[in-house]
């Protein structure tokens, strides 16, 4: 079926973005450009929510959009939605979806978060879940304002244990693509998710531990070799789960070194700001799934311990910026 059949005026879907920060803001603003889509957003930052309701959600950078989004800090004020897009940081998934479960009583909920394990948490609260992986990134500039830093594709597919229907997944992909976020509906989205997971897990924490940009990490033989070791473990776990990767994570790493030499990984930015990292769903996810299939992941375990230790140290120091 195509989008053509579904076009033709009137409201075709209501979507709620759960966690309307940088990535959530990109999805919210793009979807809100469609006349047949009504966009709601749940976020815990009252200042951000008030700014969105007062003056709209403004996107700057790679896309200039001023979007009408109905933002709320109280999910009880949000009407039932056919689709949810969860874009919180992974450590807030459980709390956020528990709060919002009532919004999706008859909806399908898609995670576009980092790492693995988010869909499992979402599935504890809603009946139909979509596995998603997205590359576009941005950052919150000010309340109500999000900068889009990078573009790229999004891949979505059924979450195997509690799947959304192929029709629903196709409809969401069509809407996102029409809204300006190219999205591919897949029968199996695990390959895309694990490719990005392995890429992130092999590079992000090394940035945080060494203070080096992505380009420098790839330039130094020592860290490039360590990245290769981390990738190798991740690929072995993916293989043990029967997942076929989209592309070779090592090649993605080298490609990123060319196009994003000066990029400081999000985990390095988290470390500098003393914000809790997503290590548990990145390297921690690889270790957890590796344990399920009996695949050894000693290097990823070491990285988890180091980042967890680093976070432990922040507890006894003055809190950093951020939330």
């Amino acid at each position: 079926m195509g989008a053509e059949r579904r076009r033709g005026g009137g409201l075709s879907m209501r979507v709620c973005i759960v966690g309307c920060g940088a990535v959530g803001g990109l999805f919210a603003a793009h979807l809100a450009t469609l006349e047949d889509v009504e966009v709601w957003a749940y976020d815990v930052v009252a200042e951000h929510v008030a700014a969105i309701n007062a003056a709209g959600l403004r996107l700057t950078g790679r896309a200039e959009i001023l979007a009408t989004v109905n933002a709320r800090t109280d999910p009880a004020e949000i009407p039932p939605c056919q689709f949810g897009i969860v874009a919180t940081k992974a450590m807030f998934t459980e709390r956020a979806i528990a709060e919002c479960a009532g919004v999706f009583v008859d909806g399908a909920v898609c995670s576009v978060q980092n790492g693995v394990g988010n869909e499992e948490l979402i599935a504890e609260h809603v009946s139909r879940v979509i596995r998603g992986t997205t590359f576009p990134a941005g950052h919150v500039v000010a309340p109500g304002v999000v900068a889009m830093d990078t573009g790229g594709d999004t891949w979505i597919g059924p979450f195997e244990d509690r799947p959304a229907s192929a029709d629903e997944i196709e409809r969401l992909a069509q809407a996102l693509t029409r809204g300006g976020m190219p999205t591919v509906a897949l029968a199996d989205a695990r390959g895309a998710q694990w490719t990005k997971l392995i890429f992130n897990a092999a590079s992000n924490p090394l940035g945080a531990l060494t203070g080096l940009t992505h380009g420098r990490l790839c330039e130094l033989p020592a860290t490039r070799e360590l990245i290769r070791g981390l990738v190798r473990e991740g690929v072995a776990v993916a293989e043990s789960l029967g997942i076929t990767l989209d592309s070779d994570p090592d090649e993605l790493i080298d490609h990123a070194a060319e196009v994003a030499y000066d990029h400081r990984s999000s985990m390095l930015q988290d470390a500098l700001a003393h914000r809790r990292t997503e290590i548990d769903v990145l390297n921690g996810g690889i270790v957890a799934f590796g344990a399920q299939t009996g695949t050894p992941t000693p290097l990823n375990e070491a990285i988890v311990a180091l980042i967890a230790g680093m976070e432990h140290g922040w507890d006894s120091q003055p809190p950093g910026e951020g939330r």
Partner: protein
């Protein structure tokens, strides 16, 4: 041979602790790197606080040729400064014995290239906090272990006499016929504790011995120590103490159990101050020794690479040397 004159070469924290104690039982001279430091010591003497309260007068100079005759030289500079320090001593102090207390492996070999002094190998667990050029706080009043270096015909009796002199000065010391087992125990302990502290930013706290659940730092520390123990075994060295027990004991002590009072390993101090670390002499030495005896040490290699990369983040010139 009666030891009555000692020269402390390098008056950092450890050197000052030796000088400040030994000056109460024998004649002590000090060779500093900076002439201002020597002038301050000549003018104000040297004060020790903390575990012991001392204030001693002593001769100090930055010129090796100005040193009075001495029986034993204690070389207490950092491993990184040893080559330069040893070259300044070349042609001096004929008839004296020299003791090395540098971290890691190989200090004796470096020193022996610059003179024919009988060499005493030593490792020390003392630690202190340097408050000024003339005031050092004695933090951990732990032992110095020493033994004749196999590369020179150093009589054991001389080592025993030096140990006795240190004990009479209030220090903890033990003479051993063969120091290798102790040197390796400390190397393995140091390699694990220093690299983990440097990368996480944590002082040596209880978490280093905690291995209750996945991600606990103690699991990584234990893994690193197990690798070191395997290398020692393959190299034919039977350890003096179990490095894991050393770790458990160290964090159980009052000085380190609470993070406010926890010992800050020197590699952590170096990283915080963005100085070159001793990782090359400690973990680097262990990794090279592992390669020599054919033992795989993936975790130690990862830690070595991460610390070198961390150094590269503030000293781009180091990059070229990274393996």
């Amino acid at each position: 041979m009666a030891i009555s004159r000692i020269c402390v070469i390098g008056a950092g924290t450890i050197g000052s602790l030796y000088a400040g104690h030994l000056a109460s039982v024998c004649e002590v001279s000090v060779l500093t790197r900076r002439s201002e430091h020597a002038a301050m010591l000549r003018e104000h003497g040297l004060a020790i606080s903390g575990k012991h309260e001392r204030h001693v007068e002593l001769f100090a100079t930055a010129e090796p040729a100005e040193l009075p005759r001495f029986d034993v030289g204690i070389i207490a500079c950092k491993a990184l400064d040893l080559e330069l320090t040893a070259s300044r001593l070349a042609g001096q102090a004929a008839g004296a014995a020299m003791m090395t207390v540098q971290n890691g492996l190989g200090a004796e070999t470096v020193l022996a290239r610059h003179g024919a002094w009988p060499i005493i190998s030593a490792v020390t667990f003392m630690s202190g906090i340097r408050h000024s050029d003339v005031h050092v706080e004695y933090e951990l009043d732990t032992e110095t272990w020493m033994g004749p270096w196999a590369g020179t015909a150093t009589p054991y009796e001389l080592v025993a006499e030096l140990a006795a002199l240190m004990i009479s000065a209030g220090l903890q010391a033990e003479a051993m016929a063969d120091l290798l087992p102790a040197q390796w125990s400390k190397l393995i302990f140091n390699s694990a504790i220093n690299t983990v502290a440097a990368l996480t930013g944590l002082p040596h706290v209880g978490l280093f011995a905690q291995e209750r659940e996945f991600g606990d730092l103690g699991l990584l520390v234990h893994g690193l120590i197990d690798e070191g123990v395997a290398v020692a075994a393959a190299a034919g060295v039977s350890l003096h103490e179990d490095p894991w027990e050393m770790n458990v004991l160290a964090v159980a002590r009052g000085e380190t159990a609470h993070s406010d009072y926890a010992h800050r390993p020197s590699m952590l101090e170096d990283v915080v101050a963005q100085r070159p670390t001793e990782v090359e002499f400690i973990t680097g030495a262990l990794v090279r020794e592992a390669a020599r005896v054919g033992v795989e040490v993936p975790l130690s290699t990862a830690m070595y690479r991460l610390v070198r990369a961390r150094e590269a983040s503030w000293a781009p010139s180091v990059a070229g040397a990274v393996v």
